[in-house]
Amino acid sequence: MNDSTAIAPMPGSSKLAILAYLGISALVYVLMMVLGLLMRMGQANWLGLPADLFYQIMTAHGAGMVGISGLAGSAVMWYFLRRYVDLTVGILWANLAFFLSGVVLILGGIFLGGYAGGWTFLFPLPSHGMGLWGPVGAACFLGGLLLIGVGFLLLYLDVARAIISKYGSLARGLGWPQLFGNSDETPPPAAVVAATMVLLVNITGIVAGAVVLVLILVNLFMPEFEVDALLTKNLIYFFGHVFINATIYQAVIAVYEILPEYTKRPWKVNKVFLGAWTASTIMVMAVYPHHLLMDFVMPTWALVLGQIMSYTGGFPILVVTAFGALTIVHRSGIQWDMPSGLLFLSMFGWAVGVVPAVIDGTIAVNNVMHNTMWVPGHFHMYLIVGLVAMLFGFKYYITGQDGKPGMFDKLAFWIYSLGGVGLSVTFLISGYFSVPRRWAQHMPEWVGLSQPAALMGAAVALGAAIFAIRFLTSLKHARAV
């Protein structure tokens, strides 16, 4: 690899790659937030957004956010995991290459091919563009997703290889001998446990996604192969749910690694911690039927299981990770700066977002809340205030911007966090008023809800833009990888 372009003073292809991941993600986040803002402004009647463009933007916003979260989360995981295992830098670059080619295809499919079938490509919508898009546009979109999947597959396989060659097996990576047996060996560090969980669920998810994407592609060009809509939906939600969940599970490694540095208190990997991550591994894969609670034809047991998993899935987050963060910070004499502040905020965002999520996962509630604004309400809470805060916290950390934050940083922190909470709460309140999600045009009585939401969205985008600029202008101070 050619290192001459690496950023001084610490050359290294891996550092350059991690910074490329983070830089690209910072820009894409801001861009996607602007797209989100445009949608909210459209719904607020402040912007004349034609419906086709709205839905194209919606598709780009969804696919873009999920994809870039996966990319940025994997950078965090990679950065810390490399402290413990031997990862391959070439694979990191390869993933980025696959990702960017996938993005080109997806954007082409959406804005040239007119594809506006939503990032969830709910079958058989991709083949029913009704003139707005044709099979080629849809195929570009789906092909782009496939390419991105291949890249991530390579990355997770390399992570698996590295973990297995050091610890022997993935079960050991999850600390099973310590959890279930009487092993006295030191359990693997938190980063390894989390990475093992993530690679397990994501490889499984990518395989499911790769099967269903190809089947939908076949159907696009050979409609006589009629794919079962319910089975497809199961696979899509399995894949989609696992992937978006895993973004947070890999980014949280930053919290495990950085908060102890600040508080001089270790984040102990004990049985409770290991048990929580093993439970998460299973629950993240088994919880997806909570997306299908309104598919009455699904087997009742699967749906009840979806409700139960959705409730218990909150345990490891609330009782172990968020509680652990609180414990480690409480009366620690921590110095509040951008990394510690954003990471602490992120734990709050994740924990608080679990509440509306779990409540919506109750069948009786889902019956009036499913596909209302309540749903984006909960996940915007733990993506904006949780995941993205986590990622920007890490970006401040890696560019050495700890210590006393500047005025702009502080301002951005408060604009971003209050805007994020406010935006999510307006989503939730809209859900309370039964406003459906994914509507280009809102009924007059709902417009009043979208207007404050648009303002909050603008605040979030502004805050994130300041974070991004601060990151990109501090790259030269970046830590060694």
């Binding site: 809509a229 939906k233 609180l326 409480h330 924990a351 509440v355 596909n371 309370y432």
Partner: protein
Amino acid sequence: MIQDTVLVVTLVLMGAIVAAFLFVAINAKNDGGEYAPIQGRAYAIRSKLFWVLVVAGVLITTVTTLDLPYAATRGEMAGVDKQIDINGKQWYWEIADTSAKVGETVVFNVSAGDVTHGLGVYDQDMRIIGQTQAMPGYANSLKLTFDKPGNYKLMCMEYCGVAHHAMVSDFTVTE
């Protein structure tokens, strides 16, 4: 209305989490010295919290799964006054009958002709009283009892293409 309960419970629980984080954030800067005692107290609280959540979870799960909206789809039509077939298409609803009487228990047999849609039934205050997915190849049966007369709306809840938001039909409940 169930939405009110949901909102109150959500706000209370979110409030509790806000309080916990604020409490820790405010106390964070004071150095409490040794970590072990702090950790010990925290673990004690955590195990209590765990058991509270477990017990609450068992109770809530039991109560909320006693009455599931799936019976009609499984063919239980006892006490049903009327069945109405609804077929979702890009972008309109084919509805066999657009009216019912107050007090009637209606089962909507919902399917789709092209792509997946979602049938949401909105009351005159524009609040959802029930919904189900409309999928090609499947029929979901949504059972509802209309207590109040008025103009209800049937709206699409699952994104189905560029005129998704225009997929609204009227449904009248008379005395």
